[in-house]
């Protein structure tokens, strides 16, 4: 992606942020695009030199420890809201700070500060160093900048777009929604954007930086019919530029939001109990919960995951291949580099039904004697790294979606889901179906809504009996995944699959 001047961002991001509310003149004068890297930004703005970093890393290793790193972050979050027909609210949040980590075996010491002064950083380093208790180690004498790939190519950074242009988009989406149905009574439209710059310097002598944009355009709408009200939300986005929010995207959001909310008036709640479930391509949360979390290597090295003893064992039929991938262009979970300096990459979890590997950060990779997989992530400089997913998806199989549906006598089809959760040790998971249909005699019939589906990860994997050839990544599938009090953006994708049976939480026995 193109690099924006960090000095400019820092100056203008205050307020509703240049990105969000600047006039064209302000945007031009204060947020011009340059080739400056985040490393240069932190050096120019705060005097972060290699010499200072060596000093801080030396302090972090003053009591020993195997490894130390410094994570600098500057993030701008902008949010623009239309409510009751007017764009009448904006917010901006600037986050700036540095986290210092010392690793000693599988132990982590961590300090952070919002002041990028030598004194504050040395104090944070002293906190980090307290995890160890031996003789001092020294960081590398020289830091080598690491080249990384670009998995979020874009034309125009959201932070470079004048407010007027963003207002038009938000207002146009509102107009399109109300044009589609007289039953719509309320619409709240929001445009959210996040621009994160990071610089990671470690005691092994590598220096890595990245800029990570993330945005989405959302419509939350309410419709009223015969005295009943229903609500739905639909959004699109990812690590994309302003060009993504064109008329086609706006129309898609309006079409889907209105279609989905109107469908709910005819929706029913299915009977409770175990039934076959066909899971459609927009429902990748299933994999995220059923297998993804259990494959995060920290849970496995501690023995607390149900998958801890299944490495290289058959866990699914041979047409099931599942990966976690940081390299998909412009998806929410894509990362050029993780938050401890490992390049973004694709990691195979299940290959033709065999469980092949876990998702590693540096600590777990060392534990297992493998290379880190680029899954060391954190919400911000206030948090230390833990293994996290990126974009988790199943590869296409050879079946046809229509054939799969036709093969089910009585079941449900899951179109879209939310609110997944898993119990790592047991493997039990749940996800919430916001849109779907009953399947009766091999045909999609009445729409369904508001139903939770429960299952067990390993059992569900074994029960995937058919995999269609229609893998899709939904740009509406921007997830915020929570773990250890931290939230990171993730993506999902999957082909249509048939799960022989899951528990559907209905209201009638």
């Amino acid at each position: 992606m193109k690099h924006i001047s960090r000095r400019s961002i820092l100056k203008t991001a205050a307020g509703a942020a240049a990105a969000l509310s600047a006039s064209p003149q302000i945007a031009t004068s204060l947020a011009k695009i340059t080739d400056e890297t985040p490393g240069c930004f932190f050096e120019k703005e705060f005097g972060i030199s290699d010499q200072l970093c060596r000093k801080v890393l030396s302090a972090a290793l003053a009591k020993g420890g195997d490894y130390a790193d410094i994570f600098f972050e500057h993030t701008v979050n902008n949010y623009l809201v239309l409510e009751d027909g007017k764009v009448n609210r904006s917010s901006c949040e600037i986050s700036l700070g540095v986290g210092i980590r010392t690793i000693c075996g599988d132990q982590v010491g961590y300090g952070f500060t919002q002041e990028l002064s030598e004194k504050s950083m040395l104090s944070a380093a002293t906190t980090a160093a307290s995890i160890a208790d031996s003789s001092p180690n020294k960081p590398a004498g020289k830091f080598i900048s690491m080249e990384i790939s670009d998995f979020y190519p874009l034309k125009t950074l959201m932070t470079n777009v004048p407010l007027e242009d963003k207002l038009k988009i938000v207002q146009e989406l509102n107009t399109q929604i109300f044009q589609r149905s007289p039953l719509i009574t309320k619409a709240q439209i929001s445009l959210s954007e996040n621009h994160k710059q990071i610089l990671i310097i470690n005691s092994l002598g590598t220096k890595t930086s990245d800029q990570q944009p993330l945005s989405h355009l959302s419509a939350s709408i309410v419709a009223e019919k015969d005295g009943k009200q229903e609500q739905e939300r639909y959004y699109l986005g990812g690590r994309c530029g302003f060009e993504y929010y064109n008329q086609e995207t706006i129309n898609t959001i309006a079409d889907e939001a209105v279609k989905r909310v109107l469908t709910l008036f005819d929706a029913t709640i299915p009977p409770a109990g175990e039934i076959p479930v066909v899971v459609g391509p927009d429902s990748g949360v299933l994999l995220h919960e059923a297998i993804g979390h259990g494959m995060e290597a920290d849970f496995n090295r501690k023995g607390t995951s149900t998958y801890a003893t299944m490495l290289n064992q058959k866990v699914a039929q041979s047409d099931v291949t599942i990966v976690d991938d940081g390299t998909n262009l412009n998806l929410a979970g894509s990362i050029n580099v993780d938050d401890e300096g490992t390049p973004g990459q694709c990691t195979v979890l299940v290959e033709k039904g065999i469980l092949r590997g876990y998702l590693h950060d540096r600590i777990s990779a060392k534990h297992y004697g493998v290379s880190p997989t680029g899954n060391g992530r954190r919400e911000s400089f206030e948090h230390y790294v833990v293994p996290r997913m990126r974009n988790t998806y199943m590869m296409s199989g050879s079946d046809n979606e229509e054939d799969i549906i036709r093969s089910v006598k009585n079941g449900i089809y899951v179109k879209s889901v939310s609110n997944g959760q898993v119990k790592i040790g047991e493997g039990d998971f749940a996800f919430y179906v916001s849109q779907g249909n009953l399947i009766e005699d091999g045909k999609l019939t009445a729409p369904i809504k508001d139903v939770n589906i429960m299952g067990n990860g390993p059992k569900m994997l074994r029960n995937i009996t058919r995999v269609a050839d229609n893998l899709a990544f939904s740009r509406s599938a921007i997830g915020r995944c929570g773990k250890d009090g931290q939230s990171v953006p993730v993506g999902f994708g999957m082909p249509t699959v048939l799960v022989k049976s899951l528990t559907v939480g209905g209201r009638k026995s």
């Binding site: 509703a16 600037i94 982590v108 500060t113 407010l163 109990g273 039990d428």
Partner: protein, 440 residues
């Protein structure tokens, strides 16, 4: 920075007003936090830090924006605020945006909420390590041979917040909080490794439960998950354990917020003054509980706190309406967010209730699910124990309950006398009749 907070807020306000804001509210907060986790009888994670941030709400010729920054250097602030004011002026006018009426600012200053632990600075790093070590050690002593992992943790924080509004409000709050707990993983049949936990949060250190109790609860609660499986779908009484009640209460509260009412996303919008639940349900919002974790003399807008019955004997008496939505809805503001929520307890213990109830399920955890604030429909995964005449007969997992809030809360038949004290949600265990529990 702490001693200069008022001065800094005044400076920020002057910059905003000079730049063209008609009104503004400045909130500055400082937080210090320490977190120590133990695993395998050694520190697994040590974390310590301080953070500062300023939030500025700007009202510029009827336009509104909110800003937050941690860069509190004077020059940076001036640029930040001046640009923010200019940019706020570009938004659409909203006649309902303003600071609250000054009449709402009358804070009852004579009340000491005991939000601060006077001995906060006396807790040493060594003492923290010692507590975490002891908890893990106790867990290991009693867990047995099938222990896979034991984590113990202590964390604490100190927060100091100043709020200054241009129409005359100034208020400061200071609070401390402590948390201790343990999480346990045990080996079950096959590949199942139940994870259980026990955590307690308090305002004062001396109110924390003893380390032996924390360890015992964490291990015992995990042992009770062993053998969990789903059972036949059936209609049963259920008891939601005291500390799990907030998860289901959340869906009811969501329909009480001014934003959802004004935006037609509330199934309770036209129910104020009407009976919506069993007469057994009384929910009090009480901001004046000493050492309560949600206690406060004023809310984030500066509106003076008041004790309110949200639901009284099943009747919906109050909504959560902040200043902005009170103007949009043309009603009196209350407060935008709950403080401490107390569900009035009953007279009997959980044990006694279970003995008399016959067969039912004690829900000890929720998983996934959702609640629709517009329709009231909800569906939640549950974890728990089937009991008969007071005896646990089968741990259950992979099961689900679904209902609509307007019918569900009318199925409440009893509240236990065991309000959970380690949270701002002081809820007792609740007994519901005729609930469809979905399983096999």
């Amino acid at each position: 920075m702490s001693c200069n907070k008022s001065e800094l807020a005044q400076t920020a306000m002057k910059i905003a007003l000079k730049a063209g804001a008609n009104e503004c509210r400045i909130t500055i907060s400082n937080t210090r936090l320490v977190e120590i986790k133990y695993r395998e009888m050694k520190p697994e994670n040590i974390k310590e830090a301080s953070k500062n941030e300023m939030t500025i709400l700007l009202y510029v010729n009827g336009r509104f924006s909110s800003q937050r920054t941690c860069d509190l250097r004077n020059n940076a602030l001036e640029t930040f605020i001046t640009n923010a004011v200019k940019q706020t002026a570009l938004l659409a006018e909203d006649p309902f945006r303003s600071l609250p009426d000054q009449k709402l600012y009358k804070i009852p200053k004579e009340i000491d909420l005991e939000n601060i632990d006077p001995n906060y600075n006396n807790l040493s790093t060594e003492a923290r390590h010692n507590i975490a070590y002891k908890i893990e050690n106790e867990c290991r002593k009693i867990a047995g041979d099938n222990l896979i992992s034991a984590n113990a943790e202590i964390s604490d924080s100190f927060q100091d917040t100043l709020v200054l509004a241009s129409n005359g409000f100034e208020g400061q709050t200071q609070s401390t909080s402590y948390s201790v707990g343990a999480s346990i993983a045990l080996q079950d049949e096959g590949t199942r490794r139940p994870n259980g936990y026990y955590y307690a949060n308090t305002t004062r250190y001396k109110d924390l439960p003893p380390v032996e109790f924390v360890a015992k609860e964490a291990v015992e609660r995990t042992k009770r998950l062993i053998g969990g499986k789903k059972i036949k779908t059936q209609t049963l009484p259920i008891i939601i354990e005291n500390r799990q009640v907030p998860r289901i209460l959340y869906g009811l509260l969501a329909a009480m917020y001014g934003r959802n009412i004004q935006q037609k996303q509330s199934f309770l919008a036209n129910k104020k003054g009407r009976v919506i639940a069993s007469p057994k349900l009384t929910i009090i919002d009480d901001p004046f509980i000493k050492r309560g974790q949600g206690s406060r003399l004023f809310d984030s807008e500066g509106i003076a706190s008041g004790k309110r019955a949200i639901i009284e004997n099943g009747r919906l008496n109050n909504f959560y309406i902040d200043w902005y939505y009170s103007r949009k809805l043309n009603c009196t503001p209350t407060t935008g967010t709950p403080s401490n929520l107390v569900i009035t307890p009953g007279n009997r213990s959980l044990t006694d209730i279970m003995k008399d109830l016959g067969k039912g399920i004690l829900v000890t955890g929720f998983i996934g699910g959702n609640s629709n604030s517009t329709t009231g429909d909800m569906s939640l995964g549950i974890i728990g124990e089937m009991f008969e005449n007071g005896e646990i007969v089968q741990p259950v997992s992979e099961m689900n309950i679904a209902d609509n809030h307007l019918t569900f809360w009318n199925k409440l038949i009893e509240t236990a006398n065991d309000n959970w004290e380690y949270s701002s949600r002081r809820t007792p265990s609740l007994v519901f009749d005729n609930i469809v529990v979905a399983g096999v």
